[in-house]
Every structure is written in C-alpha cells, then in structure tokens.
Subunit: 250 residues, 4 copies
C-alpha cells in the first residue's frame, strides 16, 4: 500500500480536536463533517491518496472527474472554543492494511499539529430507531468516557467497525484521548436526523454552537455524491453480508 499526503499549508492551531468524517453507516460522519466544513468555513490544507482506494474516477455533473480521496480541513471555532481538524473524504480504504496506514498517517499529521483529542462519528445500525435517536459512545479511557456519558450518551456495547473504531484504538495507543459518538440509524441512507444528534452532542462537548438549520443541504449533497459513487446501492448490498464484512468501496 502507498498512502500519499499532500499538504498545502501547515496551519498553526491551538490544541485542535480531530473530527473523523468519512463515509460509514448512515453517512452520519460524512454529512456532519461536510456541514462543519461549511459552517466553520474550514480551510482545506491537505489531500490524501492511497493505493488502497478504489481504482476509478467519478464524474461530476459538469463532466469533470474526481478521484477517491481524503482531505483535511481546519476550522476556527466560532465561540472561543477549540480549533477543529476535520477529516473528510469520499471513501475509506478497501483493505485492512490500507485502513491502518491511512489512519496512522492522519494521526501522525494531527499530532504534528498539536492535536491530542480525537472524536469519531458514526451510525449504529439498528432494526428500529427511537425518536429521538439514542447516541452511544465508547472512549479511549474511562475518564474520557465519563465526559461522553455526561453528554447523555449510552455506553456502546460491541464492535465499532472501520475507521470510526480503528481511529479510537490507534489514538489510544498514542496516548491521545478519543471517543466515538455513534447514533442509532437504519443505516442504509444518508441519515440527517442521526447526524443532527451527533452534532448536538458535539456542540455540547466542544462548547460550540454550530447552526444546524442548513444540515439538510449537507445531507442532500452527500446523498448526491454517494449516488454518483454508487455508494448508496453498495450499502444496501453490503448489509446482506452482515456487518462484520462491512468495508467501504468509495
């Protein structure tokens, strides 16, 4: 595997918090990250390519093309809160080794920029979803877990697949604090409502006040991207195979 990080700028940040926002169950992380990027007018400063991403191009409506990629943005918090590092992208890696390498490279870079705190977002697939959907969490350590519980989350029991789980685990190995916010979702479509509750928890935790009134726009755009990428179809198909084999291809 070869994972290449192209960095356009090395931002100076104050104790930034890394927010993981790659496509996953219910696209909760992906919609949330896109919304944060817009609301914070976050700046794109790095692009990541991996030979463990799929070998294809995706067309844009105008006939342009885009490739499977990950990006890093930084955003200054509006309310005197902490700066954010936002990890956005249209894919996770296709192989386990590719996932480890991707995650390792992003954490390397985050640490270089002074980051000691990582939050991953995700959906928690359920057959039925409560109203409002319950937010679950799991953390790198029990002290951090207490803070997550204080947000009104419940203890997640089980496995957290893919980047959302791997990142918490690898962050812990680096003595970074980390937790995952996982919102109940049916999981097969971009779930705005689940994303809203992930962001409400995030707002609370970071003392931010991100406006959620335009969240539908981010969800709609995510849906559009995903349809072109064939991802939504994939989710439905993958679901049949059971969650353990869950792996993103774009």
């Amino acid at each position: 595997m070869v994972c290449i990080v192209e960095m356009f700028e090395k931002p100076k940040l104050e104790k930034p918090v890394l927010i993981e926002g790659l496509p996953g169950i219910g696209f909760v992380a992906n919609i949330a990250a896109l919304h944060l990027i817009r609301e914070l007018k976050a700046v794109r400063f790095a692009e990541i390519h991996s030979s463990a991403f799929q070998d294809l191009a995706i067309t844009t409506a105008e006939g342009g093309t885009c490739s499977p990629l990950n990006e890093l943005y930084y955003g200054r918090s509006q309310d005197g809160g902490r700066d954010l590092l936002i990890w956005y992208g249209n894919t996770q890696a296709l192989t386990t080794a590719g996932q480890y390498e991707l995650c390792g490279r992003v954490l390397d870079l985050a640490q270089e920029l002074g980051c000691e705190y990582v939050i991953t977002l995700g959906g928690y697939r359920q057959e039925e979803v409560k109203n409002p959907p319950q937010v679950y969490s799991a953390a790198s350590d029990l002290e951090t877990m207490e803070k997550a519980i204080a947000l009104g989350t419940k203890v997640m029991v089980g496995q957290i697949f893919g980047i959302a789980g791997l990142t918490v685990g690898l962050a812990r190995l680096r003595n970074m604090k980390s937790f995952s916010l996982l919102v109940e979702t049916l999981g097969t479509y971009p779930d705005t409502e689940a994303t809203r509750h992930a962001l409400l928890s995030l707002n609370k935790f970071l003392g931010m006040n991100i406006d959620l009134s335009r969240l539908d726009i981010a969800a709609a755009e995510t849906k559009k991207v995903l349809e072109v990428f064939g991802l939504i179809r994939t989710v439905a198909e993958e679901k049949k195979k059971g969650e353990q084999q869950f792996r993103w291809s774009i």
Copy 2:
C-alpha cells in the same frame, strides 16, 4: 507489488499525447490502440511487467508463449499533429494497489518524455446502443471538458472503472490535462463499431486522419488474442457480478 519497466529506447518526442489502450469494456481501448500502433507504424520502446498481473502463460498458435504485459509505443503523427505515446497491453492489474502502481509508473515515464496530455478510451456499457453509438466524456478539468464536448460527446455521468478512470484521476493530481472517451457498447465482445467512433473523436481532437478502413483487422486480432486469454468468456461471467466488481484478469 513489484512493477518493472524495461525501456529499450528513450525517444525524443514533441509534446506527446498519451493514449491509454488496455483491455476493458467492449475492448474499445485495446482495439483502438492496436490500430493506432499499426497505422502509425508506432515503435515499441518499453515493456512493463507487474506481479499484480496473473500468474500464467498464454500460448500462441505456433506453440510460442506470451505473458501478461503492458507495452509503450511511440508514433509520429502523419499530419503534422502531435506525437503519440500509446499504452498497449493484454491486461490490467489484478489488484487495486497494482493498478495504482502500474498507472503511476506509466505516468512517470510519460512525464519524463514531456507528455502533459492524457486521453483514455473505453466502452460505456449500455443495455441498448444507439446507431451511431453515442460517445461520452469526462475530463480532468472543465476547460478540457469543453474541448471534449466540442467533439460531439456527451457528459458521462457515473463511475469510470479501472485504468480508464484511474488514469484521468491520477493525471489530474499531476496537473496533467486528461479526458476519457467512452463509447456506448453492449460490452461483452470486441466492439469494432464503438472503437470506430472513439477513433473518429480522437482523429478530430488531435487533427489526425487515421485511416479506419483496416479497423476490422485490429478487431479480429484483438478477438483472437482475447479468446486465447479466456478474456471474452471472463467478460460475460464478470458482467453478472455487476460493474462495481469489474476487474481484469488478463
């Protein structure tokens, strides 16, 4: 993965255009490349082997053998147009990482030879094909897209799988201009008619006048090679699995 480029000659070329011509849907690129090589009396100057190609040998009619491989040819344009670099072969790589490495090595080499423009060809699988078949395109950037549209192509919507798509994406990352010409095809046999329309667009774009009267010969030979390679059968089988899993094995 190990990808080895053996270069027999380092040609001096004037702003060459790289034409990708590996086997793919409808074998449009593969037939077109073979035809260009013959009509331009293009010279073979590099051979590429990868451990991501299949582990087998294919026999020739006389009992000789050939291996999965890629080749590079250069051709001087007949009509004062630009020189061509033609990327020909009997296989794509079997793995995603192998595809990235193969494509990266070819683009490295093309750039060393002064190439800043890449055109990939391919079929666009449809259940029904218009007469004449519609040519679609997607480009590295909107300026290039305008030129492709001016050829009478339509905007491609969706995913461009394999080398044809990956190459446009990776070219864009290197600030090379690139577009893909994708012709409607049923896709399960070497499609001469689709190839003809790809070459007509190419002729128009490059100001060339490649004679297409012998195109049937290139198609027949491609068919013969593919039958020995078991490729035609494979295409039909692969088709069932859906396009997303599409991956070439010789």
Copy 3:
C-alpha cells in the same frame, strides 16, 4: 503489512519456554494462556500491533475500547521450573503474510530473550469427544515428539492450521525445539475441559504445578471477551466453510 512490537521491559529470563495462546479452535490456547498469566502473576512486557489485524475497536462493559492486539508476558515458574514467555492476544492475523510476520516477530523476540523451546496449544476439532478428551501432539523433531508422547499424547495426523501450526514450523526452521498440544474439542465454544487437559499435559512436561481450580474463571472471562468481539458467532459460521479456510478475524 506492518507489525509493530512495543517493548516495555527487557526481562532477564532463564531458558524460558514460549507458550502460544492466541484464539483458535475451542479457545483452548487462549483460556490456557489467560489462566497461566493469572496463576503465575505474569508480567506484561510487550504489545504487538499489526495492520493485518482487523480494523475496528471493541468496547468494554464500561465504555472503554480495546483494539485487536497481541501481548507478551513473562512468568516465573513456581516450583523451580523454567521461566515462561506467554504469548496472549485477542486475535490472529487476517492474512497469511500477516501470520508469518507476526509469528516471525514473536520468535525473534523470544530468541533474543534466550528462548529455545516453544509450545503451542490448540483444539483438535472432532464430531465427538472422548471423556476425558484425548490430547494429540506433533513436534518439530522426533526427539521432542518422544517427550510429547511420554505425556500420554497421541500422534496428531493431519494439518495444524493457523498460528499453532505455523509456529511449530517456523520454530523448527530456527532450530528451536517445539511441539503442539492439541486437545479434542467440539470447537465452537470456549472449552474449559479441553483446556484443563492441555494444562495438565503442560504441568507434567514443565514440572509445574499450576492450580487448575480457578480455570472456570479464565474460561468465563475468555467467553465474555469473545462474545463482545463477535468471535463465538464467527467460529460457528466459519465452521461451515470447512477447516481449511479457517482464519481468525478478531
């Protein structure tokens, strides 16, 4: 693949014996290793991570997380016997190459610490199990095999899959003495009884007197971990595929 060993301490050991205890058939090795760690109050001195482990996190009951990992412990034998190196973990590697790398790294480290003797444990899946279950063995060499036979074991006939087999083979290549103790088991649940007989043989061979009265506790804990990891379910599913495809995913 990348396999990283983090070593917290370099213990001084007297001709230690390496005991392999990763999850496998019947979880015999895994329960036995956990029990040994507790009874010997063994000290954790190294942690091993591999990009061939699955990309996820597992939650603990309190909302903490743990990652797929391997660990090394050393234990001083109670009765003037040999020191033990205990190789414990919650996963084997997902790929063949990952298994070779993992096993090679552990044997490297064991040899650095003066180890020349390796014992692997495992279950031997049978449709029916005798009472008491028969212990089978296979060794790096016939001299070692005689010692294993003297413990009342029978000659194992067939294949020893995964780490239990690979380790004996790789140890032999390094001129280390090695044998495998494989106990009859139905194999689809953490088998305390099979583990008891593995440990009885081990006690006898090493001249130890490990108390087995608390073995149920280790088995119960192993079961708890495995349930969270989804491993027990996996075993049942994997079983259908036949033993040859047997491969651990956490």
Copy 4:
C-alpha cells in the same frame, strides 16, 4: 510478501537444466520431480520459504511436522548428459504476487548457477484422456518449440496456469530458453501414467535414460503427502470453481 532462500551449498554445475516440479494438475510435475530426485540421487542444496505459503504445519506419520516449502536439488545426469536443477516442493504460493516473487527468486538462483534452460511440467486437464495420453508443449520461442515438437508433442493451445506457465514466461523475459510439457490427465489424482509420458519426453529431450520402473513408488508417496496436506480433496473442490481460479493452497 517475503520469500527467503536458504542455500546450504553452491554447487558447480555444467550448463544445468532447471526442471520445475511443484504440485499442480494431476501432480505430474510433483511426481516427476520426486522420481528424478531419487533416481539421480539428487542433492538438496536450498530451501525456500514464503509468507505467501499457507500458515499451517503438516504432521508426518511419526508425529514430526513439516511446513509448506520449496526445495532445490541438483543431480548429475547418468549418461554424460546435462546436470539437472530440480525445483521441488509441497506448495505453490497462494497469491499472484507471491508466485512472481517465488519464481523470480528461483530463476535468479538458477541463472547464478549457469542455467540457461528451463523445463516446466504439468497436467493438461481433459474430460477424456487418450491411451497413451497426448503430451502437449509450449515454448519460450519457436526454435525451442521445434525441439519440443520433435519429441512428439502437440502444440498446446490456451492458458498455462500457475508456476508451470509463469516460469516459461518469466524465463523468456530473461532470454532463457524454456518449454512446458503438459500431459493429458483427468487431473484430480496423482496421475502416474501422465507422469510417465512427461518423463519419457524428458528422457528423450535430455538424452537421459531415467529408469521409470519405480515411478509408482514416487506416485504413491506423493499421494500420501498430498492426502496429509488435504490437497487431493482440494483439487476436487477447486475443480468446480473452474480452472481460471485454480490456485494452490499447499
């Protein structure tokens, strides 16, 4: 992938011919190589391990173990003919990349020892087999092919899978002469009769007079090894998947 060659001796050989003898269709190559090793009292001088071999150990009847491995032997021809390098083993590599690496390492070593000629053996699976079975061949070049035809072989048409084919292809790239002898076989059991005809052709080509009266012994032993390795069962199962997916696992 990591492929390790351990060389016990660097023999001085006169223009040796490399004979490939790994397990494959009908086990023709494997039986033939074992028979040659015995009849020529060939000397084992190198052992090859790869992380692309399966991760297991196989027990011997006495309780010893052996690992997936390849070996190289040299044999002095009885009748003033050329020396032989015999490539024997109980497995091919499990991955394409592993096959390329394995084959490349063996050819490197053969070339170091002055080898310029490579013969691969194999079965050619047919639904029905003539009596006597027809021998087919394919060669690196047409001059070599003429020599193979002169042995009474027919031109092989199609694909030669795995090491038997890959080796001819990679030998050709190194400007070594090479051909493959492929004998008709039903292919699902160790086929003594097919092997006899492979060796008759080999005798003729090399001007040797290898006694074939003990060939049954080599076949019986190969069968025994294969049964322990679970290979014979595997062949039958693999057959269902079609030849294209044919890949050896021990």
